[in-house]
Symmetry: C2
Subunit: 338 residues, 2 copies
């Protein structure tokens, strides 16, 4: 029977759903509950990772230092994970995280921009840290491209590598192909990671497909806590993986208890899948664009769904918010001309 | 490219989530929106079908007669569907539904008790009605048993036959096997139906598996509207089916609009998947037991999750609520003895 290591970013990716406002008591309470369930890795941080708290993407309620010390204290057997995006986070942030006792340090980069992670992964290798690298918006690259970039980051120092379905665009067959290609490129000694989103109702099915294709590390959040349609619902994923022949080592009842805590203490309500989440999943667009798309298209009188589909055709990625302005203006002009 | 006929029980199965309290304006508004989207069949009624409004399972806000005349008036191109469970509904109810212009009449029976549907399906055959039969709690029978019962109800007069995953227990491979077995038993002339529930996050994936195995009629509800974890989310299912090579004939934007209407006017909030929904899915128990299980186990101080798993081992089905009392008493006695 194969083992899957569950990586739980509830206290990091979930932050996106509450504008990074999780408080100390919530962080401590969930970390304790996750630890009691035997979840192998509990990730914590600002939604955009180390060093990202800012006016631009939102200030977190709690500093990185306090988040890390709080969760570190709460965990007895679970490892502590952190996330960083080069640009927001720096080597200094990585050094602090290591000093705080972070066990697993994930560096995220756009799927075709892995050279951005070279310096940080090299730094972590020097520190002897367990560095992982995740390729974001991975539906924008072919399986062969992902495999090539995965091999490259292993060369930089990543001890595990994988993909995020950041737009929630994949169907199970897509995941099977990509995990297989990456496994082929990095070999058996490097665990492959899968992180799903539920825009098309496929987060659990995609994660099972990933495990079936040999992924060794799979992400899930309590109640799917996350922006928009949310992430893979952890307390559903775990028993479904167990039923399909994978061992997670997690206690089901304690896991359900942790999810109850999360529903009660971390979120106003569990995520559900609204129309724009579906459209962004279909279009392959980062759902974080939603508020800007709604605002700009509302003022211009164009259909926000058209805007999402056009952004998808242009392969817009986070940081390219200017494209929204362009697309809205063009659709508005077309509409006026019609 | 294969065609799938979408059957939409939002205004019938969704009633379970609001104690059968949908009003005339809500029924009319959703039916109009579904019709505008080109949804082939719009089913309406009390959650338990024709004739079921009662003190025992809950009185509907609107009579069967008024529900049917309201939806009939609202539909221009969509067919109107109704549901009936022998015992709650009678041949007289079926006669009324036909007189009201119901196009598709579904009879539901427990998966191994198809003889209960013989008289009603025979009556509908005499009336020349388009009678369908669904086998409920279908995870409790083997593929071969389901195939045998499916063939039997076709002999009684059903023009389509299929399965409901009433407990939300199936994974995609389970569905593939069962739809395949039924198709083999009834032949190409009889469309096979699949109706999913989302307890294990698999409703969309299971429905795609059903289509892949040759199911010709697939159910979905706006926002998954239904009790507990809800049904298959219709406006997710349709574009995912289209992307995987099936034609539904439904307009995506109008479908998303219908779902927005449903979220706003039919339900307090879209369904999410709580711990007991997960447990009932894993255990293969009707999630409608939830309130009684919670009430009785709370008073006896036993874990409701243990009660669900034990009910699953005993293959409890709706109508066997007495078993809950027995199981709670036994677990309570065991606990006292421990």
């Amino acid at each position: 029977m194969n083992t899957v290591v569950i990586h739980d970013p509830t206290l990091r990716d979930g932050q996106h759903a509450v504008r990074h406002q999780l408080g100390v008591a919530a962080l401590r309470g969930y970390a304790e509950a996750a630890d009691a369930a035997g979840i192998p890795v509990v990730e914590v941080g600002h939604g955009n990772g180390l060093g990202a708290s800012s006016l631009q993407v939102g200030r977190a309620a709690v500093s990185d230092d306090l988040m890390l010390s709080t969760v570190r204290e709460a965990l007895r057997t679970s490892k502590m994970g952190v996330f960083m995006l080069p640009g927001w986070g720096t080597c200094e942030d990585l050094r602090k995280a290591v000093a705080h006792g972070a066990d697993v340090i994930r560096v995220g980069v756009h799927c075709t921009e892995t050279s951005l992670a070279e310096r940080h992964l090299g730094f972590l290798r020097e520190q002897g840290a367990d560095a992982h690298c995740v390729l974001m918006m991975s539906h924008m690259a072919t399986p062969a491209e992902l495999a090539e970039h995965a091999a490259r980051v292993v060369g930089y120092g990543a001890r595990a590598v994988g993909i995020m379905d950041s737009a929630g665009h994949f169907l199970p067959q897509d995941v099977t192909e990509r995990i297989g290609a990456i496994r082929g490129a990095v070999g058996d000694g490097v665990p492959v990671i899968f992180h799903g989103h539920n825009n098309l109702g496929m987060a659990v099915a995609n994660s099972v497909a990933a495990a079936g294709a040999g992924a060794g590390i799979i992400d899930g959040c309590a109640r799917g806590f996350g922006a928009g349609a949310g992430n893979t619902q952890l307390e559903v994923l775990v028993p479904v993986l167990e039923r399909t022949g994978f061992r997670t080592g997690i206690d089901l009842y304690a896991l359900l208890d942790a999810a109850e805590f999360a529903e009660r203490e971390l979120m106003p309500a569990p995520p559900t899948t609204g129309s724009l989440s579906i459209v962004s999943g279909l279009a392959g667009v980062f759902s974080g664009f939603k508020h800007q798309v709604l605002d700009l298209s509302g003022r211009a009188g164009v259909d926000p769904r058209d805007v999402f589909f056009e952004l998808g055709r242009r392969q817009a990625i986070a940081g390219q918010e200017d494209l929204i302005v362009d697309v809205v203006a063009e659709l508005s002009a077309k509409r006026a001309a019609a």
